[in-house]
Amino acid sequence: MSVFLQPLQTVTVGSGGASSISFSSIPQTYTDLFVEASFRDSNGSSFVNTSISFDSSSNYSNTTLSGNGSGTGSGRTSGSTALQPWFANGSGSTSSTFTNATLYIPNYTSSNYKSIISDMVAENNSSTAYQELAAGLYSSTSAISTINFYAASGYVQYSKFSLYGVLRQGI
Protein backbone atom coordinates (compact mmCIF):
# COMPACT_ATOMS: atom_id res chain seq x y z
CA MET A 1 0.00 0.00 0.00
CA SER A 2 1.30 3.38 -0.97
CA VAL A 3 1.53 5.77 1.96
CA PHE A 4 2.54 8.69 -0.23
CA LEU A 5 -1.08 9.21 -1.27
CA GLN A 6 -3.41 7.38 1.06
CA PRO A 7 -7.02 7.04 -0.17
CA LEU A 8 -9.35 8.21 2.63
CA GLN A 9 -12.87 8.73 1.29
CA THR A 10 -14.69 8.63 -2.04
CA VAL A 11 -18.17 9.85 -2.89
CA THR A 12 -19.79 8.82 -6.17
CA VAL A 13 -23.09 10.52 -6.94
CA GLY A 14 -26.01 8.20 -7.51
CA SER A 15 -28.94 8.34 -9.91
CA GLY A 16 -30.78 11.07 -8.00
CA GLY A 17 -27.93 13.56 -8.20
CA ALA A 18 -26.65 15.56 -5.23
CA SER A 19 -26.76 19.26 -4.39
CA SER A 20 -23.60 18.96 -2.34
CA ILE A 21 -20.84 16.53 -1.39
CA SER A 22 -19.12 16.37 1.99
CA PHE A 23 -16.08 14.71 3.43
CA SER A 24 -16.49 14.69 7.19
CA SER A 25 -14.57 13.34 10.18
CA ILE A 26 -11.36 13.72 8.22
CA PRO A 27 -8.52 12.02 10.12
CA GLN A 28 -6.12 14.50 11.68
CA THR A 29 -3.11 12.25 11.28
CA TYR A 30 -1.83 13.27 7.85
CA THR A 31 0.38 16.14 6.76
CA ASP A 32 -1.64 17.36 3.79
CA LEU A 33 -4.93 16.67 2.04
CA PHE A 34 -5.46 16.15 -1.68
CA VAL A 35 -8.77 15.99 -3.54
CA GLU A 36 -9.27 14.67 -7.05
CA ALA A 37 -12.70 15.24 -8.58
CA SER A 38 -14.58 14.42 -11.77
CA PHE A 39 -17.97 16.15 -11.79
CA ARG A 40 -20.75 17.71 -13.84
CA ASP A 41 -23.57 20.03 -12.81
CA SER A 42 -27.19 19.74 -13.97
CA ASN A 43 -27.35 23.53 -14.36
CA GLY A 44 -28.43 24.63 -17.83
CA SER A 45 -25.38 26.79 -18.42
CA SER A 46 -22.30 25.48 -20.15
CA PHE A 47 -20.09 26.19 -17.12
CA VAL A 48 -20.99 27.08 -13.54
CA ASN A 49 -19.06 27.62 -10.33
CA THR A 50 -18.63 24.98 -7.68
CA SER A 51 -18.17 26.34 -4.14
CA ILE A 52 -15.87 24.75 -1.58
CA SER A 53 -15.89 25.45 2.16
CA PHE A 54 -14.78 23.97 5.46
CA ASP A 55 -17.28 25.83 7.67
CA SER A 56 -19.97 28.53 7.40
CA SER A 57 -17.68 31.50 8.00
CA SER A 58 -16.73 34.28 5.59
CA ASN A 59 -13.06 33.43 5.84
CA TYR A 60 -12.40 32.50 2.24
CA SER A 61 -10.54 34.24 -0.51
CA ASN A 62 -9.03 33.08 -3.78
CA THR A 63 -6.99 34.36 -6.70
CA THR A 64 -7.35 32.75 -10.10
CA LEU A 65 -5.65 32.59 -13.48
CA SER A 66 -7.87 31.22 -16.20
CA GLY A 67 -8.21 30.66 -19.92
CA ASN A 68 -11.38 30.04 -21.89
CA GLY A 69 -10.05 28.90 -25.23
CA SER A 70 -9.58 32.36 -26.63
CA GLY A 71 -8.81 34.78 -23.81
CA THR A 72 -7.15 34.81 -20.41
CA GLY A 73 -7.94 36.51 -17.15
CA SER A 74 -7.11 36.74 -13.50
CA GLY A 75 -9.69 37.28 -10.79
CA ARG A 76 -10.05 37.51 -7.04
CA THR A 77 -12.68 37.08 -4.36
CA SER A 78 -12.24 37.92 -0.68
CA GLY A 79 -14.26 37.78 2.50
CA SER A 80 -16.39 35.10 0.89
CA THR A 81 -18.33 32.20 2.33
CA ALA A 82 -16.59 29.73 0.05
CA LEU A 83 -13.70 29.20 -2.29
CA GLN A 84 -14.65 29.18 -5.96
CA PRO A 85 -11.65 27.71 -7.77
CA TRP A 86 -13.57 25.31 -10.00
CA PHE A 87 -16.00 25.47 -12.90
CA ALA A 88 -18.31 22.54 -13.44
CA ASN A 89 -19.38 21.40 -16.86
CA GLY A 90 -23.09 22.22 -17.08
CA SER A 91 -25.72 20.73 -19.33
CA GLY A 92 -25.00 23.39 -21.95
CA SER A 93 -21.55 21.90 -22.56
CA THR A 94 -20.76 18.74 -24.54
CA SER A 95 -22.77 15.85 -23.14
CA SER A 96 -21.12 13.32 -20.83
CA THR A 97 -18.19 15.66 -20.27
CA PHE A 98 -17.03 16.03 -16.67
CA THR A 99 -14.72 18.61 -15.11
CA ASN A 100 -11.32 17.27 -14.03
CA ALA A 101 -9.97 19.06 -10.95
CA THR A 102 -7.65 18.84 -7.96
CA LEU A 103 -7.38 20.63 -4.63
CA TYR A 104 -4.26 20.54 -2.46
CA ILE A 105 -4.41 21.60 1.20
CA PRO A 106 -1.06 21.46 2.99
CA ASN A 107 -0.79 21.56 6.80
CA TYR A 108 -4.54 21.23 7.24
CA THR A 109 -4.24 20.56 10.97
CA SER A 110 -1.95 23.49 11.73
CA SER A 111 -2.96 26.52 13.78
CA ASN A 112 -1.98 28.84 10.92
CA TYR A 113 -4.31 30.06 8.20
CA LYS A 114 -4.60 27.46 5.42
CA SER A 115 -3.11 28.07 2.00
CA ILE A 116 -4.70 26.08 -0.80
CA ILE A 117 -3.82 25.50 -4.44
CA SER A 118 -5.93 23.99 -7.19
CA ASP A 119 -5.99 23.29 -10.89
CA MET A 120 -9.07 22.56 -12.95
CA VAL A 121 -10.07 21.91 -16.55
CA ALA A 122 -13.62 21.88 -17.89
CA GLU A 123 -13.53 20.57 -21.46
CA ASN A 124 -16.01 21.09 -24.27
CA ASN A 125 -16.03 20.28 -27.98
CA SER A 126 -16.31 23.98 -28.69
CA SER A 127 -13.88 26.87 -28.76
CA THR A 128 -14.94 27.75 -25.21
CA ALA A 129 -13.60 25.55 -22.43
CA TYR A 130 -11.94 26.48 -19.16
CA GLN A 131 -8.56 25.88 -17.59
CA GLU A 132 -7.94 27.51 -14.25
CA LEU A 133 -5.24 27.70 -11.62
CA ALA A 134 -6.27 29.02 -8.22
CA ALA A 135 -4.65 30.00 -4.97
CA GLY A 136 -6.98 29.99 -1.98
CA LEU A 137 -6.84 31.10 1.61
CA TYR A 138 -8.93 29.89 4.53
CA SER A 139 -8.35 32.55 7.20
CA SER A 140 -8.90 30.30 10.16
CA THR A 141 -6.59 28.74 12.70
CA SER A 142 -8.92 25.76 13.11
CA ALA A 143 -7.89 22.38 11.81
CA ILE A 144 -9.88 21.23 8.78
CA SER A 145 -12.08 18.24 9.55
CA THR A 146 -14.79 18.72 6.91
CA ILE A 147 -14.75 19.68 3.23
CA ASN A 148 -18.02 20.65 1.53
CA PHE A 149 -18.56 20.97 -2.21
CA TYR A 150 -21.68 22.83 -3.37
CA ALA A 151 -23.08 22.52 -6.88
CA ALA A 152 -24.86 25.39 -8.63
CA SER A 153 -27.88 23.16 -9.32
CA GLY A 154 -26.80 19.61 -8.57
CA TYR A 155 -23.99 17.18 -9.25
CA VAL A 156 -25.10 14.62 -11.80
CA GLN A 157 -24.85 10.85 -11.50
CA TYR A 158 -21.31 9.45 -11.78
CA SER A 159 -19.68 12.61 -10.42
CA LYS A 160 -16.88 11.40 -8.21
CA PHE A 161 -14.90 13.10 -5.44
CA SER A 162 -11.91 11.37 -3.86
CA LEU A 163 -10.01 12.48 -0.76
CA TYR A 164 -6.41 11.46 -0.04
CA GLY A 165 -4.08 11.97 2.90
CA VAL A 166 -0.46 12.81 2.25
CA LEU A 167 2.28 11.93 4.71
CA ARG A 168 5.66 13.59 4.78
CA GLN A 169 8.81 11.60 5.42
CA GLY A 170 9.33 10.68 9.04
CA ILE A 171 5.69 10.31 10.06
Binding site: S2, S38, F98, V121
Partner: protein
Protein backbone atom coordinates in the same frame (compact mmCIF):
# COMPACT_ATOMS: atom_id res chain seq x y z
CA UNK B 1 -0.05 5.53 -6.80
CA UNK B 2 1.32 2.47 -8.53
CA UNK B 3 3.74 2.20 -11.48
CA UNK B 4 2.15 0.45 -14.49
CA UNK B 5 4.71 0.83 -17.27
CA UNK B 6 7.55 3.08 -18.39
CA UNK B 7 9.45 3.84 -21.59
CA UNK B 8 12.96 5.19 -22.02
CA UNK B 9 15.83 4.55 -24.43
CA UNK B 10 19.27 5.83 -25.36
CA UNK B 11 17.95 6.31 -28.90
CA UNK B 12 14.70 7.73 -30.27
CA UNK B 13 11.55 5.83 -29.39
CA UNK B 14 7.75 5.84 -29.53
CA UNK B 15 5.21 5.21 -26.80
CA UNK B 16 2.04 3.13 -26.78
CA UNK B 17 0.60 1.84 -23.54
CA UNK B 18 -1.66 -1.11 -24.28
CA UNK B 19 -3.63 -3.56 -22.15
CA UNK B 20 -3.84 -0.95 -19.41
CA UNK B 21 -5.09 -2.60 -16.20
CA UNK B 22 -8.72 -1.73 -15.44
CA UNK B 23 -8.45 -1.97 -11.67
CA UNK B 24 -7.40 1.62 -10.87
CA UNK B 25 -9.65 4.68 -10.61
CA UNK B 26 -7.38 7.25 -12.23
CA UNK B 27 -4.29 7.26 -14.44
CA UNK B 28 -1.35 9.61 -14.41
CA UNK B 29 1.37 10.09 -17.01
CA UNK B 30 4.68 11.58 -15.91
CA UNK B 31 6.82 12.70 -18.83
CA UNK B 32 10.41 13.98 -19.03
CA UNK B 33 11.07 14.61 -22.68
CA UNK B 34 12.21 16.35 -25.78
CA UNK B 35 10.65 15.56 -29.14
CA UNK B 36 12.70 14.55 -32.16
CA UNK B 37 11.62 17.37 -34.50
CA UNK B 38 14.76 19.48 -34.94
CA UNK B 39 13.00 22.60 -33.65
CA UNK B 40 13.35 24.26 -30.28
CA UNK B 41 9.81 23.23 -29.30
CA UNK B 42 7.10 20.83 -30.39
CA UNK B 43 3.86 19.30 -29.23
CA UNK B 44 2.87 15.86 -28.08
CA UNK B 45 -0.54 14.63 -29.30
CA UNK B 46 -2.46 11.59 -28.13
CA UNK B 47 -5.18 9.11 -28.88
CA UNK B 48 -6.98 6.50 -26.80
CA UNK B 49 -7.77 2.93 -27.80
CA UNK B 50 -6.23 3.57 -31.27
CA UNK B 51 -9.18 5.85 -32.12
CA UNK B 52 -7.69 8.27 -34.65
CA UNK B 53 -10.99 9.86 -35.67
CA UNK B 54 -11.95 13.48 -35.17
CA UNK B 55 -13.44 12.69 -31.77
CA UNK B 56 -11.24 14.91 -29.65
CA UNK B 57 -10.88 18.48 -28.46
CA UNK B 58 -8.10 20.23 -26.58
CA UNK B 59 -7.55 23.63 -24.99
CA UNK B 60 -4.49 25.28 -23.50
CA UNK B 61 -3.82 28.18 -21.13
CA UNK B 62 -0.17 29.09 -21.45
CA UNK B 63 2.38 31.77 -20.71
CA UNK B 64 5.62 32.40 -22.57
CA UNK B 65 7.47 34.67 -20.19
CA UNK B 66 5.80 37.85 -21.35
CA UNK B 67 2.09 37.18 -21.90
CA UNK B 68 -0.67 34.67 -21.23
CA UNK B 69 -2.66 33.06 -24.02
CA UNK B 70 -5.50 30.63 -24.51
CA UNK B 71 -6.09 28.41 -27.51
CA UNK B 72 -8.43 25.66 -28.64
CA UNK B 73 -8.86 22.81 -31.10
CA UNK B 74 -12.17 21.02 -31.60
CA UNK B 75 -13.39 17.95 -33.51
CA UNK B 76 -9.80 17.03 -34.14
CA UNK B 77 -7.88 13.78 -34.52
CA UNK B 78 -4.80 15.46 -33.03
CA UNK B 79 -5.58 16.66 -29.51
CA UNK B 80 -2.66 18.08 -27.62
CA UNK B 81 -1.36 16.10 -24.67
CA UNK B 82 1.58 18.42 -23.92
CA UNK B 83 2.02 21.86 -25.44
CA UNK B 84 5.35 23.25 -26.63
CA UNK B 85 7.78 20.88 -24.98
CA UNK B 86 11.48 20.99 -25.83
CA UNK B 87 12.51 19.74 -29.26
CA UNK B 88 15.85 18.47 -30.49
CA UNK B 89 16.64 21.95 -31.81
CA UNK B 90 16.84 23.18 -28.22
CA UNK B 91 20.10 23.41 -26.33
CA UNK B 92 21.50 19.99 -25.59
CA UNK B 93 20.36 18.46 -22.32
CA UNK B 94 17.19 20.57 -22.07
CA UNK B 95 14.13 18.42 -21.46
CA UNK B 96 10.56 19.34 -20.52
CA UNK B 97 8.31 18.05 -17.78
CA UNK B 98 4.66 17.12 -18.07
CA UNK B 99 2.12 15.56 -15.73
CA UNK B 100 -1.18 14.33 -17.20
CA UNK B 101 -4.16 13.16 -15.12
CA UNK B 102 -6.90 11.03 -16.65
CA UNK B 103 -9.78 10.64 -14.19
CA UNK B 104 -12.28 7.78 -14.02
CA UNK B 105 -10.75 6.17 -17.09
CA UNK B 106 -12.86 2.99 -16.83
CA UNK B 107 -16.21 4.76 -16.37
CA UNK B 108 -18.38 3.94 -19.38
CA UNK B 109 -20.83 6.77 -18.63
CA UNK B 110 -18.32 9.56 -19.15
CA UNK B 111 -16.41 11.07 -22.00
CA UNK B 112 -12.78 11.18 -20.91
CA UNK B 113 -11.15 14.45 -19.91
CA UNK B 114 -7.42 14.84 -19.38
CA UNK B 115 -5.66 17.62 -17.46
CA UNK B 116 -2.03 18.41 -18.21
CA UNK B 117 0.55 20.67 -16.60
CA UNK B 118 3.61 21.16 -18.77
CA UNK B 119 6.78 23.14 -18.17
CA UNK B 120 9.51 23.97 -20.68
CA UNK B 121 12.12 26.54 -19.66
CA UNK B 122 15.11 27.03 -21.96
CA UNK B 123 17.17 29.67 -20.13
CA UNK B 124 15.83 32.73 -21.91
CA UNK B 125 12.68 31.34 -23.44
CA UNK B 126 10.02 28.89 -22.37
CA UNK B 127 6.38 28.03 -21.99
CA UNK B 128 4.27 26.85 -19.06
CA UNK B 129 0.86 25.33 -19.83
CA UNK B 130 -2.27 24.15 -18.08
CA UNK B 131 -4.19 22.22 -20.70
CA UNK B 132 -7.09 19.89 -21.21
CA UNK B 133 -8.17 17.27 -23.69
CA UNK B 134 -11.50 15.58 -24.39
CA UNK B 135 -12.17 12.20 -25.95
CA UNK B 136 -15.83 12.02 -26.94
CA UNK B 137 -16.24 8.36 -26.22
CA UNK B 138 -17.57 6.55 -23.17
CA UNK B 139 -15.42 3.44 -23.62
CA UNK B 140 -12.99 2.49 -20.88
CA UNK B 141 -9.46 3.47 -21.80
CA UNK B 142 -7.26 0.44 -22.39
CA UNK B 143 -4.66 2.01 -24.64
CA UNK B 144 -2.83 5.35 -24.86
CA UNK B 145 -0.71 6.34 -27.86
CA UNK B 146 1.54 9.39 -27.65
CA UNK B 147 2.26 11.15 -30.94
CA UNK B 148 5.21 13.56 -30.60
CA UNK B 149 6.16 16.08 -33.28
CA UNK B 150 9.03 14.60 -35.25
CA UNK B 151 7.36 11.19 -34.88
CA UNK B 152 9.51 10.13 -31.93
CA UNK B 153 10.77 11.07 -28.50
CA UNK B 154 14.42 12.00 -28.30
CA UNK B 155 16.90 9.73 -26.57
CA UNK B 156 16.79 9.63 -22.79
CA UNK B 157 13.24 10.92 -22.57
CA UNK B 158 11.19 9.07 -19.96
CA UNK B 159 7.43 8.41 -20.21
CA UNK B 160 5.81 6.63 -17.26
CA UNK B 161 2.24 5.57 -16.55
CA UNK B 162 0.84 5.20 -13.03
CA UNK B 163 -2.43 3.96 -11.60
CA UNK B 164 -4.18 5.74 -8.74
CA UNK B 165 -6.69 4.08 -6.45
CA UNK B 166 -9.46 5.59 -4.35
CA UNK B 167 -11.03 4.65 -1.04
Amino acid sequence: MYPIASYTSNSTFNVTFSSIPQNFTHLQLRIFCRVNNGSSTGNIYFNFNTDNGTNYASHELYGNGSSAYSTSSTSTAYPILAYQVAGTGATNNIYSTCIVDILDYTNTNKYKTIRQLTGNDQNGSGVVTLGSGLWQNTSAINGITLLPDGSAFAANSVVSLYGITTA
